[in-house]
Symmetry: C2
Subunit: 240 residues, 2 copies
Amino acid sequence: MPPPPVRALLFDVFGTVVDWRRGVIDAVRPFLDRHGVATSAAPAFADAWRALYPTAMEKVRSGRRGFVRLDVLHRENLEAILPRFGIAPTAVPEAELFALNEAWHRLDPWPDAVAGLTRLRQHFVVAPLSNGNIALLLAMAKRAALPWDAILGAEVVQAYKPTPEAYLRTAELLALQPDEICLVAAHNGDLAAARRCGLRTVFVPRPTEHGLSQTTDLVAEQAWDVTAPDFEALADAFGA
Amino acid sequence: MPPPPVRALLFDVFGTVVDWRRGVIDAVRPFLDRHGVATSAAPAFADAWRALYPTAMEKVRSGRRGFVRLDVLHRENLEAILPRFGIAPTAVPEAELFALNEAWHRLDPWPDAVAGLTRLRQHFVVAPLSNGNIALLLAMAKRAALPWDAILGAEVVQAYKPTPEAYLRTAELLALQPDEICLVAAHNGDLAAARRCGLRTVFVPRPTEHGLSQTTDLVAEQAWDVTAPDFEALADAFGA
């Protein structure tokens, strides 16, 4: 029996749809400047901020901490790294910390993303399946005109990727079987977890997500159902 | 201090955005015909189906039953009313029951709805705050081109309106204060519950939701923040 048709394409967001590192660097630079830190530290600041993300989420995934949205983890991680750059969190006005944390709401898509999503949306349900929280993904989508049909992800199902619950509860909400859903991601680990849950998989490498010297996720580490260089090629591959 | 600006307009859906009765009647008519029942019974069938909705939800709201999505309640209610129209549920093929139940996914918007929402979306977050489940609202939106920014509602927050949790947890997900949100509904009861939670309120009467002899919700029963005859006038009122 052939597999059922794909009904929904769900997307990892940070790195896959948007260039988080460029956006965070751009937001960090004036912040550092205001606090007397060389703006050349902005890439290191962005990388340090992001580097705390897996550990923070792991506490939730492992059950050591109840579910908290990503905005909260980002804020805690921001305050954790400030001293490394010579800035005392208590010396920064609350409004400024809040605004900097919202850099994650104001990220630009890769140049092919909106065009590809717009084509795919004519044929499939398209939605984020991101660890970003609803308010974050919503603000990002409105600013960047990402044409999502719905805002799905970790907060909706109260489970962070790559736990199986993140994928399976999302399928259940959509009233779809896992193999009627395709996860699109720039990260082999996300795809591997989705495949273990029965989802189909599309790899779209984003070789500069981590900057020009990126060493990870440059190539497909398994035979994913589709590998496409960008979202326009992805739309081609799905006949959209 | 003036109230904060409204950031999000959230909409009741059944009756407020879509003409559920017309759509259900249209889906019921051929079903009755196939089963040897006069198609003139279709309006009574639609009304009987809908009439079981409050009681079914009340079991969940009261905690006597765990949260189940509206598709499940609609299906149970469908099987409950079939015998009244001389049809044994067990005599109907499963695929046919399933398809008829999905009539609630295929409802047409009132003529002003898409145009008004499209204007409002340029200035505000627009999303359903409906008791409909995610898959239902998503299918409805894609078919009818409802330009939602997100799919919110009872299933996302696991609480049916008019419990306070339905409104307050939704505000929390949006990271908004209740008075930064405006509920738009054709039902005074929904607006009264939203107001008790601190939301702002817009009444858009839909005087034929229940047919030409409708007696309820014809007029505003409180001084709602805005009363507008349709979504175009609503967009006018919000400067959209």
